[in-house]
Amino acid sequence: MPSITIENLTFSYPDCSSPALYEVNLTIEAGEFIVITGATGAGKSTLLRCINGVIPHFQPGTLQGNVWLDRATPSGRVPVARVSAPQLARFIGSVFDDPEGQIVSPIVEEEIAFGLENTGVDPAQMDDRIAKALADCGISHLRHRATSSLSGGQKQRVAIAAVLALAPKILVLDEPTSELDPDGTEAVLKVLFELNKNHGITIIIAEQKVTLLAPLCDRLVLLEKGRIALQGPPRKVFMHPYIFAKLGVELPAPARLAHALVQAGVLPPLDSPDAPPIPLTVEEAFTLSRQLL
């Protein structure tokens, strides 16, 4: 069952000669964990903004084609551009890269309550929903803390909990870990993985670095100058190191090792039938190497 269907999407920012997205077609299934990557300017953020309604609701420009939000109404699908930004909040949760710029309240529990208040949730239900959202993000202990006292990783998890409280079907995250340290990054990715696995929430995330996300995601989409250059499960797309090099996206070390082992003549070509699957984690790369010894 599709969750988002993108049809012939072209978008140009004002005063820009070339479009930021050009005839993009993409279907995202409900419950999918999808990573959008590409070099700076490839169109990652623009694509995400078309999905979460920031385009066209906040960002002016020329938009052609459609982003369909499925099951948004009983009758079926509706274009994101026709749903107002606040209305969209019930279906799509948006998390941005700057932890500081998306927290509006002085206290954590008030921050989670903010969206609930906006969408007219009965105050009697709020305590439970706040508690659940915080628990799902592993930050129940932060409930009464001042938001200004939190670390970046904690702030991002508060931001996720705040949109999660609205029970969206889809989470759209634009480089949510770019400002975080390794512990913070790990904590945020763990939350996303669990939300996807345990609650079936569709995750759409844009990142420069795919090393940590590759083992977690169902599909990687590589953008190049506003077009989809390559997409598929990580083990499939990692078969094409030259495309990664051309697009300026770093191939994760475990996959690079597999390619280097082919070069060194100890592994058959990775697309041949008797080749092992490309490793996504250090553990898998270790097992693969171990088998050769």
């Binding site: 070099a39 700076t40 300017g41 890269d97 670390s151 970046g152 990783g153 480089e175 770019s178 400002e179 975080l180 340290d181 390794p182 512990d183 913070g184 420069q208 670095k209 090393t211 300026g248 996206v249 770093e250 994760p252 070390a253 475990p254 690079r256 090792l257 390619h259 280097a260 082992l261 070069q263 060194a264 003549g265 100890v266 250090v282 790369a285 270790f286 190497s289 171990r290 050769l292 010894l293």
Partner: protein
């Protein structure tokens, strides 16, 4: 050219403690020396004290106790504007400094403050713009630049001051792979020309590839001061400081138990070493010969 070879360390930190006005102890007694021409990475989790430490090198922060000597002079006794002649500092967020309407003027801000005028100023600014590949944007509004470009503009504005030491707070955060490589290549080149480079980062692959020395800061203390390779051998210390081994280093270490001796930090070297070992094993199996030494002993 900028580094003075006086025989004494360029930066000397003695029992440095820094306590914030709010009462938090950010640095708990740090001692280290930095020589001219070094390329140093400073690592640790957010809030460990990395930025607090490096801001003492150019007097942005003053020691609560202890001393920081720059080229033998006590930084606590010199104004920041004077220390800025020797130590440049590139902040993490370029928007914390950019305020001119023309990129040229933004880059010229620092050198002008140092008293440069006329041709010398123009030469410096233009060569800094060239180094960061922004010559085409010389007369444009920095506001039009992408975030990656603004980050390089901030770097150029410090390069133009031609300081002996350049400190960078997370120079590659928010940059894509090619932009990161480009920034690190600039730093490598500056280092070759004699500048001392100190960069703060979370990216251990960057450390592995570019640093000659790494300072691991945790909870306001200098936990490890060593070349990257030695740091990577202390996985326990690394993880308890909130960091991770770079994937290749982790693989090298785990495979060491299986006769793989590679510490070059690249997957190519690792694959070559696996291939060598694999062929030795095949040969050994065929000759029924027992080899107890490492890979080198067998050759």
């Amino acid at each position: 050219m900028p580094a003075k070879l006086t025989g004494r360390p360029l930066i000397e930190v003695r029992q440095l403690k820094h306590i914030y006005r709010s009462g938090g102890e950010a640095l708990k007694g740090i001692a280290l020396t930095i020589d001219a021409g070094e390329m140093i990475a400073v690592v640790g989790r957010n809030g460990a004290g990395k930025t607090t430490l490096t801001k003492h090198f150019n007097g942005l922060l003053r020691p609560t106790t202890g001393t920081v000597l720059l080229d033998g002079q006590d930084t606590a006794k010199l104004p920041v504007a004077q220390l800025a002649r020797t130590v440049g500092y590139v902040f993490q967020n370029p928007d914390h400094q950019i305020f001119h309407e023309r990129l040229f003027d933004e880059i010229a801000f620092g050198p002008r403050n140092l008293g440069l005028r006329g041709d010398e100023l123009t030469t410096r600014v233009d060569s800094a713009l060239k180094a960061v590949d922004l010559t085409d944007y010389r007369d444009r509004d920095p506001g039009e630049l992408s975030r990656g470009q603004r980050k390089r503009a901030a770097l150029a504005s410090v390069l133009a001051m031609e300081t002996a030491v350049i400190i960078l707070d997370e120079p590659t955060s928010g940059q894509d792979y090619q932009e990161s490589e480009q920034i690190m290549a600039i730093l490598q080149e500056l280092n070759r020309r004699g500048h001392t480079i100190i960069f703060i980062t979370h990216d251990m692959e960057l450390v592995q590839e570019h640093a000659c020395r790494v300072l691991l800061i945790d909870d306001g203390k200098l936990v490890i001061d060593s070349p990257p390779r030695e740091l990577f051998r202390q996985e326990q210390a690394l993880t308890s400081a909130g960091l991770r081994l770079p994937p290749t280093a982790e693989l090298e270490q785990r495979l060491a138990a299986f006769g793989i001796h590679s510490d070059a930090g690249t997957v190519e070297a690792l694959a070559a070493s696996i291939a060598r070992r694999s062929s030795q094993i095949t040969a050994r199996d065929s000759f029924k010969e027992n080899c107890s030494g490492g890979a080198a002993a067998c050759q």
